[in-house]
Symmetry: C2
Subunit: 100 residues, 2 copies
């Protein structure tokens, strides 16, 4: 796959203990606000599991204009600070839609 150009999906799996939802969501919003202001950001949706026992209770699916745009955004000096509260729980990966 040529993953270096064109739109790309960030899928980020978060391990969040049951009961820590409100704090996680607030921290996620902080990181989202930072990223939404960066070039190449298109959209994002934060998913919360229906069941309390899911391994990944939150999953973020975001669209970026390109892998390079995403990597530049998370390489910004301000990103580490904005995302500090959620990065240790995160399992991010870049994907492309291959079938519908």
């Amino acid at each position: 796959m040529d993953g270096n150009s064109g739109p790309v999906m960030l899928i980020n799996l978060f391990e969040v203990p049951s009961g820590a939802d409100a704090g996680f969501i607030a921290a996620w919003e902080h990181a989202r606000d930072f990223l939404a202001a960066q070039e190449g950001y298109r959209s994002t949706e934060l998913h919360q599991s229906l069941g309390p026992d899911a391994e990944f209770r939150f999953v973020n699916v975001a669209e970026w204009a390109s892998p390079a745009a995403f990597r530049a955004a998370v390489g910004q000096p301000g990103f580490r600070e904005a995302a500090a509260a959620i990065q240790q729980r995160a399992h991010p990966g870049l994907y492309q839609v291959v079938r519908r």
Copy 2:
């Protein structure tokens, strides 16, 4: 969260060895064709990781009309057969979008 009514997102993480992509995609299409014919199915997108080393090299994100509709669909006698080739690699969960 009230997860028993309204639209729901299925997020399914697949562990697929590098090199097994074509067979996996064909098997996924078989399962998709079965599910797409069931009541309550709305849409699906299969994501493939850009990098070969991702833990979950394929992620399916599908929308269903309700959790009950999804559970009824995968409870159909034909589903186990249609999905046999991919179920052992699957980590499915139901989610709702809580932030954008």
